[in-house]
Symmetry: C2
Subunit: 355 residues, 2 copies
Amino acid sequence: MLNIRIEKTKDPKVLPGKDNPLKFGTIFTDHMFIMNYETGKGWYDPRVIPYQPLNLEPSAMVFHYGQEMFEGLKAYKTDDGRTLLFRPDKNIERANRTNRRICIPEIPEEDFLQAIKTVVKVDEAWIPTKEGTSLYIRPFIIATDPYLGVRPSDRYLFIIILSPVGAYYPEGLNPVKIWIEDEYVRAVKGGIGEAKTGANYVASMKSQVKAHDEGYSQVLWLDGVHRKYIEEVGAMNIFFKINGTVLTPELNGSILPGVTRDSVLALCREWGLPTEERKISIDEIKAAHENGTLEEVWGTGTAAVISPVGQLRWENHIMQVQDGGIGPISQKLYDTITGIQLGRLEDIHNWTVEV
Amino acid sequence: MLNIRIEKTKDPKVLPGKDNPLKFGTIFTDHMFIMNYETGKGWYDPRVIPYQPLNLEPSAMVFHYGQEMFEGLKAYKTDDGRTLLFRPDKNIERANRTNRRICIPEIPEEDFLQAIKTVVKVDEAWIPTKEGTSLYIRPFIIATDPYLGVRPSDRYLFIIILSPVGAYYPEGLNPVKIWIEDEYVRAVKGGIGEAKTGANYVASMKSQVKAHDEGYSQVLWLDGVHRKYIEEVGAMNIFFKINGTVLTPELNGSILPGVTRDSVLALCREWGLPTEERKISIDEIKAAHENGTLEEVWGTGTAAVISPVGQLRWENHIMQVQDGGIGPISQKLYDTITGIQLGRLEDIHNWTVEV
């Protein structure tokens, strides 16, 4: 149990208005959680302080060797005024998996959850209630040793910042267009693709810019070895419904094990839909499109929840998914997951945690 | 031509003593160069200011999505008091290649060089002169947009810091032991392995810790697709001399194009040694070790210049390179390159640039 010191701001910001449509990740709340680490001393001085800039040496290792991890989850306000987190245990478990992979010291799970709850409680008034909005929670850890040799740092900061957000894609729940990348590679088995760390995101930017310029919202990555098996979208995992079966790539070491991915698999199984986690080649998708059995495609992620995919482009093949609209399973998944997140549907899985 | 404003420190630090053995990258000089970028405005406000912490929003993109690049080069003091840089044009060219790969705006080459020269000049008194020491120059760029969506930043800082350094490895020019990694992968073709960015270094840490625990200084990476072709050491490129021929892996997109690597190839060719840049499998190295033709192994990098390798370990095979000592070509390369860097040997390639 952490002994968290709380220092409230003397200069609170103006809350965004109730009808503010809110973009993603541009506004931050009044406070942040912060805790230090030093080898030999462990994690220490947990505190909630006014949201403020970080003061770091230019030689801090995070600026040079990318030793940084992050997580993303959301808090929701229910109609009866409770604050709910969605499956924070999964994010915390994954955070420590990332930590282990990139040599950052782990944070005890109960301390991590306590830190999230404490800072969310302090800034509870910031949780937006308009349809499609929520309070995005961004825990992250950065290496701060002032040292230019390459090795794991001996000092870290663990920080949690909060941002009231609207839809991740300007499209909202409307279908996005996805570019299947055939030149660049995001990650490979043996690498750090399954860790939630900056490296995987910076690796995606060039391709993303190219896709954007061509009018596509996101990039779908193929595997780095054979360049033919579907991996993930970078900001989302991907699902296909082909001939009645729900397919998603298996967790192979280079794919992020998404919390929404896991929830979607659980719901589909509950609904009696056949599901398969396995290797899926781009040729299989192309064939399904050609013979008309590609029934639905959607992405899953904390930021977008469910993002229907209306079109895929691979090399010169443009594949429209059915009529390009929102498929029935995508819609049902979105309604069910957001319904549970908002406390409007019964939470039979115990996915929500009250703050 | 930049109009660089210079603000000198009012509180200079004490210089390390002449006989200070100096470690790598722990002491920083009195000043730093800094310049801002904003989309629409370009690079602006170049200045040399007292060495000081950076003040960044916790949401600054560099902390989350790893959009950061760095370079490393050195300044040397000659016996007659001149200050020399070694092939800065190569670092600057590579910096802009990294920038293009990870969507950071380029810096005009002449401005980059002017920035380096200006800050080195201001802190010239910090260049150490003891054998094996130099002033390490670390230019780097970080993304500073306060935004949690994934896309290239619209704001950056370009910074140059300086550190008087001794040998990178505690071993100095003494042979190091290298662990050949067979589980983890550093980078893959199509990825960002040839860019000098934090992502490649964080990816290496877990393996490096494992190797260290087994008594090895560094990790030698195999390719991510076949897991059998030699790539690089992370902090160095690698060379083998087998049966009279000097071999190094070809630049295949996942290997850093090292400046010292390039210099070593040029010198070996000049000396009439047959050289080959090509795919080299671990089996070929093992066979050469077994039949006695593995004559020398060395690493090349700015930090260590030449680092003789005395032993390689791959799975359970421990391969000692000849008697485990410094090979004659390694020694000659070290003497020649440092001789040119220090202005003691004629610089027929025009590699040095006077500040």
